[in-house]
Amino acid sequence: MRRVLDIVFPVALAAVILGSWEWTIFHWQVPHYVLPAPSAIARAICANFASLMASLGSTLAVTLQAFAAATLLGVATAIGFSQSRLLERTFYPYAVILQVTPVVAIAPLILIWVGFERINLALVIIATLVAFFPILAGATLGLKSADFNLLDLARLHGASRLQILWRIRLPTALPYLLSGMKTAGGLALIGAVVAEFVAGSGTATGLAWRIVESGNRLEIATLFAALALLALTGVLIFAALSLLEWALLRRWHESAISEAA
């Protein structure tokens, strides 16, 4: 019953909001280039379906590649940190600097260095930089959180560093890593959008560029359509990662075990 209500209430809210939105536009005769009605946005999606899907594919490809790269790099760096305090002390401050520097500010540089002829690579690098830190932070914290007594026990039985990493540290880190990945999934999408904005005309073909282009042409309904697709993509990424988290942790980690069970 609660499950059903979890779905019914948000859907009802959406219906109310979309309904009053539609009514307001109709009643006050709001111009479509200021705020289009939901029905106009739906028509824009239908009319531009093929090109919007191509744009979505482009943005999604950048997002997923960046997310994968950030996960690999973040976990690899965290493993390096866990094996050497010196490595961690030396490089962690720079990881923080990378995190706090607005990527929008360095995106033009990356575009110049990588070159507009390899625009996709540049977009992926920018989005990776945005998504990298939560994964590094989560994995680093997780790898450090192993039970000291368990580590002692493994050493007592002659475990190698690699065995300790694989059998104890990595499983311990999994909940922290997944939490970081959930944050990074959304950030990879934001990074892809920012990268497309910066890349500008003629080169990028993703949803963010469609937003810029539609804005310039005052095709506000198409702009909203692209925006809606972006939001939907973000929600789907989050849902997929939540599902992954649940599948991996549901049997043993407190965070994934429902209290009723």
Binding site: D147, N149, D152, L153, L156, H157, G158, R167, I168, W252
Partner: protein
């Protein structure tokens, strides 16, 4: 035959409270014979856990030496907490020492299942730690300590967090395993009654810095927790402890 000897052990720990650190152990010496059940008894913070970790080789002494005159034996270690991997079932937890030694999976599984059966957990191989009670988790921990067939079993207040009924039952099981396997046991505890009932020898440690204040032999047969022999042993240990902590 001396299995384990600690001689003139000193150990100092860094401390945020005290400049120069804390002297946990100072000139600690004792020896354990093969097949003995020895309790290390003392108040909290007397350094008995430190002594146990030194014996296991998990810590190195600042002074003195830990020696095994007839070679370092296989060691089993049981912590105060069950210290299980929460993501792994009882069988996987139990076989950890064997897997770390790269034993073939099938043989490791068979031995782990046998070890679980010995501690009364047959049928719980696939249970995760969160599905087990505190006493059962401790049993898995003991099975894991026994799975590699150690000669020396080191236990660090293993029953301190359990209720009395569970504690007594596990104590009896420990005695049975000790007799069956011809183990040598070094048992850290702060319970006078536990040490009196379980052990053949009780080493009493005063508050910090830790050393041995009394070495009490208990030549009695342990078949009853409340027998006059056990109660008499408790009196003797208690008196030694009082004298040491005064």
């Amino acid at each position: 035959m001396t299995l384990l000897a600690l001689s003139g052990i000193g150990k100092r720990f860094a401390s945020t409270q005290k400049a120069g650190g804390v002297q946990a152990l100072d000139d600690l010496s004792f020896a354990i014979q093969t097949g003995e059940f020895v309790s290390l008894l003392g108040p909290s913070g007397c350094g008995k856990s430190t002594a146990l970790r030194l014996a296991a080789g998990l810590l190195t002494p600042d002074a003195g030496a830990v020696t095994f005159p007839h070679g370092k034996p296989e060691i089993g270690f049981v912590f105060q907490e069950p210290t299980l991997m929460p993501w792994a079932d009882a069988l996987t937890n139990t076989r950890l020492p064997l897997v770390l030694k790269s034993m073939p999976r099938r043989e490791a599984n068979a031995r782990a299942a046998a070890a679980l059966a010995r501690v009364g957990l047959a049928g719980f191989e696939r249970a995760l730690p969160r599905e087990l009670s505190g006493g059962m988790k401790m049993r898995v921990s003991i099975a894991r300590a026994l799975v590699a067939q150690p000669k020396l079993l080191l236990l660090d207040e293993p029953f301190a967090a359990l209720d009395e009924i569970t504690r007594n039952r596990l104590g009896d099981d420990l005695l049975r395993l000790w007799r069956e396997d011809g183990l040598t046991v070094l048992f850290v505890t702060h319970s006078v009654s536990e040490s009196a009932y379980l052990s053949e020898r009780v080493l009493v440690m005063p508050p910090r810095p830790g050393r041995i204040a009394a070495d009490i032999a208990l030549p009695h047969s342990r078949d009853d927790r409340l027998s006059s022999v056990t109660i008499e042993a408790q009196r003797g240990i208690n008196a030694a402890l009082q004298a040491a902590t005064a």
